[in-house]
């Protein structure tokens, strides 16, 4: 590691369009990335971390502009370079990868061509067609994908998220960059895939001596990959230093709070409470195969989503269903609610054969199981007042409007909002506040079972913590049974009494949280646990050695 910085951002400010809630998206930010090191830029949503990285390549969204400061890369000030100079740098000496592998590749072009485009753009006529092809194959092999020639001919939709992210990395590596900007490249991936991609970035960085500016919101990822850390909040840098210093002995209060909010490390205060004894909901032998047909002569596609799953829920119990995307956990939750009809199986719910119900009886039972969805922005009707969203449910079940409105106001207060929120619209609230509204809407019907489908996954860690606490409190107050669907084992470890691990539609392991995390029986569970980012620092949840935090 030489001391000469490769990239040096000096007092950078990026102005927001006039009339916003603050003047700058990024204010007075200074940081440096040296050759052969990974600097993690970490912060919550709106902290300006992504804007800072985009400013380096001058790929800022329309309306945003560098207002002051310098961005030095070698001998060039990127803040003032002309468009031609920037184009020569983009994808050449400086390249960038993005968060969403599903949308970051052109859906209509073969991935090999997309890698070739990066090579041709910079090497131009210096390379022959077959040399470009050979280089494409070499790059695909370098990012660890099997059978490169066949892969080069694939279209993005034929690849998994992890494979697409590897293709993105191959594009970024095409011209041997000195600096790689990585904007949350693993956030949209499953944990096991995330682990592989982090290892890949680490390996490529070390092999090529690159400098990497790695943006993330996850301190676990920071612990796994960073050499140095820069913490941002509201557009400003609040703390920076070597990874061990910042993670083990943070100086800034905000950094301390953020690290403390990382789920999975706290004592499990949300568990260990008295459970109901009689099962409230017993599901047996649930199966679901999705079929689709695209034409008269075409074969029917059969995708088994859930296979022979059994599940029991008791009052005041939280069962977390964990698994990666495509494991069938959401389908399972929707079958429990009868939003998706199981092909076979039985559900005894509150003493009734739930799957046999029809019409009025079914409708009467429906209020007893409610759901909170992942995306609080999509889950509320933007043209309906939030109070109405809460009061409508009880009204359709016959509660007089006056009572329903009074109850909605009480619930708003209960979930931590003002009663005056009743008259306002969803867009006036933040993500966390909207999730509180969604929770109020779900519990307004006084359900016996609450399904939380990735209910905290879209939220910042500090908000996540508060929502989890709220859910735990409501569970006690209302004797709710909670079915908690999540891909995040750290979250599951905090709130769940029991863990159900799913893979490819089947339950591979289930048991008390303590025993599943402490002594996992199935190889897949162990694989999932080992993929949790930041284990080196935070330890495995519920392991005795987990207490080395904050010495």
């Amino acid at each position: 590691m030489t001391d000469e910085p490769l990239l040096s951002i000096e007092n950078l400010s990026v102005a927001l369009p006039k009339g916003g809630d603050r003047q700058f998206a990024v204010e007075n930010v200074s940081l440096a990335v040296r050759r052969n090191e990974i600097v993690c830029l970490v912060g919550e949503s709106g902290s300006g971390k992504s804007i800072t990285a985009h400013a380096v390549l001058r790929l800022l969204p329309p309306g945003l502009d560098v207002a002051a400061g310098a961005i030095r890369f070698k001998d060039t000030d990127l803040a003032r370079a002309d468009e031609g100079t920037m184009r020569a740098l983009r994808g050449g000496p400086i390249s960038m990868i993005f968060q969403e592998p599903l949308s970051a590749l052109n859906p209509l072009t073969r991935v090999g061509q997309q890698i070739a485009e990066a090579i041709i753009t910079h090497a131009g006529a210096k390379l022959s067609g077959s040399e470009v092809d050979a280089r494409v194959i070499e790059l695909i092999a370098a990012v660890g994908l099997p059978d490169p020639p066949a892969l080069a001919r694939s279209y993005p939709f034929q690849l998994s998220g992890g494979q697409r992210q590897r293709i993105m990395i191959a594009i970024a590596m095409a011209n041997e960059p000195a600096l790689l900007l990585a904007d949350e490249p693993t956030t949209a991936l499953d944990v096991t895939t995330q682990k592989q991609i982090l290892a890949l970035v680490r390996r490529l960085q070390a092999e090529r001596g690159m400098g990497v500016l790695f943006i993330t919101h996850d301190f676990g990822v920071v612990a796994d990959i960073a050499d140095r850390v820069v913490v941002m909040r509201n557009g400003c840098v609040v703390e920076q230093g070597a990874v061990d210093e910042v993670l083990r002995a943070p100086k800034n209060d905000y950094t301390k709070a953020l690290i403390a909010a990382v789920p999975g490390g706290r004592p499990a205060s949300m568990r260990g409470h008295a459970l109901g004894t009689d099962p409230l909901l017993v599901a047996r032998g649930l199966n679901k195969v999705f079929t689709s047909r695209q034409g008269v002569f075409r074969p029917v596609r059969r995708v088994p989503a859930v296979q022979d799953v059994a599940l029991t829920l008791r009052p005041r119990e939280t069962v977390a269903v964990v698994g990666e995307s495509g494991s069938g956990k959401s389908t399972l939750a929707r079958m429990i609610m009868r939003l998706i009809e199981p092909d076979t199986g039985a559900i005894d719910f509150d003493g009734v054969d739930f799957l046999k119900l029809k019409g009025v009886q079914l409708r009467a039972m429906r209020r007893k199981v409610q759901i909170v969805f992942q995306d609080p922005f999509a889950a509320l009707d933007p043209r309906q007042k939030v109070g109405e969203a809460i009061a409508r449910g009880p009204m359709t079940y016959g509660t007089p409007p006056v009572d329903a409105i009074a109850e909605a106001k009480r619930l708003l207060a209960r979930v931590g909002l003002k009663e005056s929120a009743y008259e306002r619209y969803p867009h006036e609230f933040s993500g966390g506040q909207r999730q509180r509204i969604c929770i109020a809407r779900a519990i307004a019907l006084k359900p016996l079972v609450l399904v939380a489908d990735e209910a905290v996954s879209a939220l910042d860690v500090s908000v996540q913590q508060h929502i989890l606490e709220l859910l735990a409190e409501l569970r006690e107050e209302m004797s709710l049974a909670m079915l908690f669907i999540t891909h995040d084992l750290r979250v599951a470890s905090e709130i769940a009494d029991r863990i159900v691990v799913m893979r490819r539609g089947e339950i591979v392991e289930q048991g008390e949280t303590q025993s599943v995390f402490g002594a996992p029986q199935h190889a897949y569970t162990r694989e999932l646990l080992e993929a949790i980012p930041g284990r080196s620092l935070f330890g495995r949840p519920h392991e005795p050695s987990a207490n080395l935090r904050f010495a």
Binding site: R87, R90, G91, F98, L108
Partner: protein
Amino acid sequence: MSVVAITRYGGRLSAYVLGAASGAVKIIGVILVIATFNFILVHAAPGDPAQVIAGQSGAADETLLRQIRSAYGLDQPYLVQLASSLKKTLTLDLGYSYRQQRTVLSLLLERLPATLLLTGTAFILSLVFGTALGTIAGTRAGKWSDTFFTIVSLLLYALPVFWLGLMLVLLFSVQLNWLPPFGYVTVGVEMTTWQRIADIAWHMVLPTLSLAAVYLAIYARLMRSSIIEVKQQDFIKTARAKGVTESRIVMHHLLRNAILPVITVAGMQAGGVVGGAVVVETVFAWPGLGRLIYDAVLQRDYPVMQGIFLIMSIVVIGLNLLTEAVYRMVDPRISVRSVT
């Protein structure tokens, strides 16, 4: 993965074959449905079906009516009649126009080329220029050129086709005397083949413009909003981060992705273009199917109406299948996914 990928590619050809086969099934199915509608039409029309077929002129004498009854089997049970009329349709025996004293098929075949020429040209022109204008407007969203094109396309969209046609005639034929006001070809002049082609093209300008205008406006507006949407997608940012030039981003990444919804709508509008031809052909005395429909409706010439009904449906379905095939070519997700 690799084996899967290879078999997927091997499957792409068979996807085309399957697509063509299901297209053929669709066409035959629709022809049968239309033929059934045609059958019902004659029987639902007021009066004796034989009178209806003869053209309700009152001029048909008993001999002719008897002839018609036995030719159409009108004395047979309904199901037998239906079966024989379906059979006739499938063998392209579309009946006889007693009004025009000719077989319906020969009438249609005589008029079809003129309509296909007019609608086809208008369709292609509106697509090409519509997407081009939409692309310019979309890539410059918010600038004055965008505002200008948006206003122009809104104006074109709002103008009734017949009014636009008449105004074009007034301006270019009556005032400026640049272009012929009506007709398909100059009558009574000896011409070589090339002169004839040029003459037809000259006659086509005004009707094509009138017909194309409204669709051009639709495609331009659609393309504009599609461009604006695609422009914000991540893969455009990826291309920019590769250092690709703006013009290449537009040509290679933006256009192909943005045109997909335009293709879908164009497929649905194809029928509308054929319908719009009725008005334009009437205004410009263009000797196509549109004029034939107009005349047939006025004269209650049911066999001709039935024939046109059938042939227009076939044209519309054909255009739909064509757009489906184009979509398949542009978007690999359709053809490849359908066999996996």
